[in-house]
C-alpha cells in the first residue's frame, strides 16, 4: 500500500516536472519563433513597399509561407550547436555558415513561391535575408544589454549597501 502510494506520487512528480520543463522549453522557442516571424514580416513589408507597391497579397497563403520561412530559419540555428563552448572566432564562422545556409535554402524556396523573379530581384532578396539576420542579432544584443544593465545596477546597489 505504502509502496503504491510512493510510486504514485513519484510518477506525479515526474509528470509535473516534465510538463514544467516542456513549457519552459516551448516558451523559449515560441518567443524566438515570434521574433523571427516579426522580422521576416517587416522585411517583406518593406521589400513589397519599395519594389512592388501595387502587388496584391493572397493573405492566408502569404502568412502560411512566412510561417514556413520562420520554421526553416529556426531549424537552421542547429548550425550553432556545439558540445563545447564556442569561441568568438568559431561563433563568427558559424554565423557566416548560417547566413550561407539561409540564403541557399530560402532563395530557391522564395523563387518557387514567386517572391522574386529577375536578376536584380535575387540580389535584393538576398540582401533582405542578410538584413533580417542582422536585425535578429541586433534584437538579441538589445535584450542582452537590458539584462546586463539590470545585473550591473544590482551589483552597484550591493556595493553601496556594503559601503554604508
Amino acid at each position: 500500500m505504502l509502496m503504491n502510494n510512493i510510486t504514485l506520487w513519484v510518477r506525479r512528480y515526474v509528470t509535473v516536472y516534465g510538463i514544467i520543463m516542456l513549457c519552459t522549453f516551448f516558451t523559449l522557442w515560441v518567443r524566438r519563433y515570434v521574433t523571427v516571424y516579426g522580422i521576416i514580416m517587416l522585411c517583406t513589408f518593406f521589400m513589397c513597399l519599395l519594389f512592388n507597391p501595387t502587388s496584391e497579397l493572397p493573405v492566408v497563403t502569404f502568412f502560411g509561407r512566412i510561417m514556413v520561412f520562420t520554421l526553416i530559419a529556426l531549424l537552421s540555428l542547429a548550425v550553432y550547436y556545439s558540445k563545447d563552448e564556442l569561441t568568438v572566432k568559431a561563433w563568427w564562422v558559424r554565423t557566416a555558415l548560417h547566413l550561407l545556409l539561409l540564403e541557399a535554402v530560402l532563395l530557391p524556396l522564395a523563387h518557387f513561391w514567386g517572391f522574386w523573379h529577375g536578376g536584380t530581384d535575387i540580389l535584393v532578396y538576398a540582401a533582405f535575408i542578410l538584413l533580417a539576420k542582422a536585425l535578429w542579432h541586433l534584437v538579441d544584443y538589445g535584450l542582452n544589454a537590458k539584462t546586463a544593465a539590470q545585473i550591473n545596477e544590482r551589483i552597484r546597489k550591493n556595493r553601496l549597501e556594503i559601503r554604508n
Binding site: V88, W92, D140, N144, A148, I151, N158
Partner: protein, 155 residues
C-alpha cells in the same frame, strides 16, 4: 536555542544548538535574496570551506571566498585567485557540488565563477555576456547560465 536582538533590534538572530551527529545548516529568512547582507552571510558561511590548489609540488589551502573562478582546460582543472593560478584535482561537477550555496555559480560549460568578484557585465556580439572581474580579468557568461547569476543577485 539562543535568541538575541542584533544592534537596533531590527533583526532577530536565532542560534540553535544541535547534536554533533546532525548536519550544520544555515537558513536565511529574508525579503530579498539578492540583498548585500544575504551575500555577506553566504560568503561567511562558505568562507570556512576550503579547496586544495597545487602550484608545482606545493599544496595550498584556498578558501572559496578567495577564488575568482574555476576552469577546466584540456581535462585539467585550474583555480584562479586575485593574481595566482593553481591546479586542482577536482572535476567541474565535484567543484560545483563543493561550492553549492556559496557565491560561486556555473557560468559556462567549463567554468565556475564567483559572483562576488564581478565588477560589471556587458553583452557580447556572440550572444553571450562578458563579466569583467575586480582584478581586470574577463570571463564569458553563457546565456544559459545568466539566469543563475540573476537569481543569485536577486534581479
Amino acid at each position: 536555542m539562543d535568541t538575541m536582538d542584533s544592534g537596533g533590534g531590527t533583526m532577530r538572530v536565532t542560534v540553535e544548538r544541535i547534536e554533533p551527529k546532525d548536519e550544520e545548516e544555515l537558513i536565511v529568512r529574508c525579503y530579498d535574496s539578492g540583498a548585500a547582507w544575504v551575500s555577506s552571510v553566504k560568503e561567511a558561511a562558505s568562507g570556512h570551506r576550503t579547496i586544495c590548489g597545487w602550484q608545482e609540488d606545493t599544496m595550498h589551502r584556498l578558501r572559496l571566498t578567495e577564488i575568482f573562478y574555476f576552469e577546466v582546460v584540456d581535462d585539467r582543472s585550474f583555480l584562479y585567485t586575485q593574481a595566482a593560478v593553481f591546479e586542482a584535482k577536482e572535476k567541474l561537477y565535484e567543484f560545483e557540488r563543493l561550492c553549492a550555496g556559496s557565491t560561486l555559480f556555473r557560468c559556462s560549460k567549463s567554468m565556475i565563477l564567483n559572483a562576488e568578484k564581478i565588477d560589471y557585465v556587458r553583452p557580447s556580439v556572440s550572444g553571450r555576456f562578458e563579466a569583467v572581474l575586480s582584478n581586470g580579468e574577463k570571463a564569458v557568461v553563457s546565456r544559459k547560465y545568466v539566469a543563475d547569476l540573476k537569481r543569485m543577485l536577486g534581479v
